[in-house]
Amino acid sequence: MNKALVQLIRKDARAMIPVGLVFMTIALVWIVQYFVLAAPMDASWAAVSVLSSGSFLSLVHVLIGLMAAYLLLPREFDDGTLQFLWGLPVDRWQIVMAKIIAAVSVVVVGSLALALFAYGLTGFARNSIGSEVFSWSTWWLHFTITAGSSLVGLGYGVLACFFRRFGVVVFALAVFVPYVFGGLLPSLGQYEIASLGLVRYEGFEPTLNHAAWRLHGSLAFASAIVGGLLWMKRAERYQAWYERVAQSSGTRVAGFATGLVLAIAVLAVVPMLPLVSSNATINDLTTRYFAMRYFDQDHPAVVALVDVADQDFESTLDLLGAAHDSLIVADLTDAAEGHLGIAGWNKIRMDRSSLRDPMLARHVLVHEATHVVATATADRRMSERSIATTFFNEGLAEWVSYELLGIPETREALRDLAAVAWDRWELEFADLANSAAFNARFDGDSVYALGEAWVGALASACGRDAPGKAIVGLSTAATRSGGSRALWEDALAEIGCDLSAVNYEFEGWVDERLPSAEAIVPRIEGFIESMDRLAFRITRVGGAPRPMQIIVRTRQNPAAPPTTWTRGVGRARDGETIRIEFGARPTRDFQYQFGVVFADGERPFYERWRNASP
């Protein structure tokens, strides 16, 4: 390496002091986290390393790399220092190379120092099992991911910084768009930059997310080369062009006019397309409590619903001991997938298909109206603690609807499902009161059944007015701190009831119900027969003798929205084994679940979610 290059590297390394300060700040944050906000004994290797927070650490390091690039190149160019360097008897490539070497050295050394610091922190940890997590191979993985992420950021940064702020905007979009859409389109997930920090497991052995590293590694490398070439050959020309564009009002106006036209086209025309294609006429009907909007074709069904809507709503208010003085807007034009209705603050949206069956429409309206009343009575505090209250919220709405409308067949099926789910999944109250954990392991929709039965137990143990009073109790208890169980203990104490008494009643009900429910709801056993074609072999065991619909559904992970799940169906008699094929795996790792429609037209019973990876 020649002397000039070494001197240039030294000079550029000095310009990297702010990057060093960022590394020191991260170390400081760790110190505060593990010495002030927690005891250092909690600083286990799993907690401080990429094993638990890889995505976050990776994103932070990518940003550090980006920062390093912006510190080295544009600042010097704008200060005129770079032009001075161009005048020296040194090749331009050497000047750019010196900067990149300096940046690489600083981010790698900084990442190394942080990785050692993290290891040092774990020296305070006092837990034998936690200590077993540490191994030098996982330390090396941690260092590789953090340092590698910095280098990826640096590679992207060399190109992005050529375009100054525009580069930042494009980079932000490149991070933001896959982040937002990754959940909706799972295959986009690997383009997320934070996925560099995801640790994959080959069995118990942690390893890099190779797909993401191949993608971002090669793109960052290409960006660094293109960026370097641009800085060497086009820096002055780009600057001159940029200034010309910035000063020419004609160019600006033309550019923005084009953009405006395009934006208007996208904004105005696209949303109109469904309306253009639809020739439906919209009607309104207002009652004492509801303002309904619906399609003209649904008029007879809506009139039938309107006849009983106010009466049902008054009965709902009586049952809950509540009052409601605002008009509820009911949108009956929705074409929803996956639900029959949703509700919020004085608003209901019902799936249009529910209008086909008058009793179903009443059931949905009463269910959703109960949500409206509960939301208003609790002043939205139930939804603020939704993880602990979802089962109650849905169960209450079902309970009110069945108490008022009867619908015995549906209610019986729901109660069979509740009893079987409670027993087969070995549930406890703590499972119900944590909807996030519940949805990760079980069928999230079963909270309608379980909640309805639990609210029934609440009414039996503490009085028929207890469910309505519990809404008020919850709204008071939700203002205070405490976990889910504390919330429920507190809320029921507010209405003079014990959580234990309700659970005791509920357990008694399950014991009574279970024998008959077990005779109706079959068990579904199965396994993945082929991972390549994603085929399942499934056996139905028990239940009523007639053939029943068997369902297999898959999802990427518990956070994946239901719109991204896939579903396959078949039919089987008792003891029969069937094969359901999907054709292709949704993603590399996924979850699957078997279900059975044990009563026609009612909610299916699903077994637990299972994990699968090749």
Binding site: S326, K347, S383
Partner: protein, 627 residues
Amino acid sequence: MVTKELRQHGFVFVGLALAAFAVYYVQSQVLNLTGGVLSDLDSVPLFTRTVLIAIALFLAYRMIVLDYFQRTRQFVEALPQTFGAFEAVKFVLGFVVLLVIAFAVWLFAVIDASQSEPIGARFVAIMLTRLVLFTLFVWSVAFAFGMLGRWRVAFLLGTVVLVRLLDSMTGFEMHRFGPFALLDPSTFPFERSHFPWVAVFETFVCTVISGALGFGIALAREGSFMETLSRPMLRRERMAVFVVLGVVGGAWLLSNPRPDAPPVRFQSDKVLKNAAANVEILYLDDRLIDRANALMRYLDPRMRSFIETTGIDGNLSARVSLAANLEGDEFQTGPIDYDDGVVIGANFMARDFAHREMGEYLFHQLLLAGTSERAIQEERHWALDGFAQFWALDDGLAPTYDPLVLQALVARDRVGLTRDSLRRWDVVASAVGEMPAMALATTGWRYLAQTHGEEALGNVAKSLFSRRAHDDVRDWFDALANPVSAAFEAEGIDFDTFVREWDGWLDTFVEREPYRGLLTELAGLKVDIAPLKLATGGSGIWFSGAAGDPLHPLLDCRALHLPTSPVPGPVVRQAMTDEEIIPDGATFSHLVENVYGTGTRILAAVECEHPLLGQPLRYGATAFVMP
């Protein structure tokens, strides 16, 4: 001046409007894709609470901060203008630009929403009141921050952090306050009847304050104050800002904590209460009063002496509630309140309910509450486990045979009894099972009482269990300064010697019958656990075991399995699925079929309960990945 501003920033206004529409479009499409959208107006609060705020901050930067950086203002001041007119024009123009953007987005959403819901005049008036006032507030805040020049970022960050802390750590509910309530996504698209007057008033006051602050800074000392602010901050100024923000924020947090949930109080009249022993038992059913009384008779003397001996807070109470879903030997912890006590769920109506086991669990949880969980730090964990069981025992060790001693001997055989094994208690408990480990620890307390007397035992317990955790670095220093050995040494007992002698004491049981025969029988059992691919195509877990001699006919073995995280942690026995294994002479085997998917990480073990052992002993604990 308006013309000057438009000429200077018109390009930015149009660009921002364009970008705003594009982002709004993306936001609304994403919202629709995620499902569960209740109204097409849902996207308005989402837009105004994110994009509009960002636009306001950018506008303030372009229209205010840059003017001072570039000294444009000095030129404008030389013009014959009314004092303050320059700032007023900027304020009004910025507000109009923001309002136009917000209004256009809202209008677009309203047109969209009108297809599916009626949009009446009152609803429009309510929404517009919210929107206009919120926009005015956002702009007045951005305007004020803009006037802070180079200090604005520090103040902005400080304010954001403070607001977040207030919301998360105190009883102050930010989303129900003024401007945040106006654009609350749960009400903005839906409230058609009531004007949010309180929020309007609060927002108005905040707007006036921030606007006045902005103008005050701009006009103070004829503008020279703002010029000072626009100069780079000195290091000491930066420090002062952070110190002030830290002190004000800290003081507020400490003075306004979120109220805690009140301690649990049983509401039913079916409760047995014993004030002297601080025990309450909720029995729920009149038929169970006798069982509740029996439990109270067991707990009463123990609770009284427990508080006195350990020196834990005497106000800590034990509340036991009937939990019918549990097995007789299974217990649940309700809320633990460090100042009030614990609530335990237990099924004391079950046939196999045992007072002693419930006592172990209760005293364990009480010690956790009394020490704010300091007692569970690993080097003290054995002492916690052992003391809880020791205190729950009815009498001393049975003279000829005691299952606890057998459990302790089995555990000791597997993991040894040294200072190091006591320090690595979590690993020990995972390897042999919680109950044998607990029995081993109990023999330590038993030996201490036997050799050094009840007083020494009480003093060691007080030393270990009378201090609370701080949850910060003080715990680490405290652990260094007060190791377990110090509690023994304070009584004149060398801890290493004590552990050695305790181990020696256990040796004396090994050669005695029936311990010797039972130990040989239990040690002869070899367990093998492995995942396998089934001929049918599925996968399973194969449990098998063999002993030299035929297994005891009453030996009860269960296959345990649990999907685990790749990062190991303590395993809770209750979380594991268990299935009965039927022995066949000197061997047994069991297959778990098609329960777990390919690639799932599994922890499996076999637990066998010998009729003379009293508690299950864990064999062959192993982790693997399903094929």
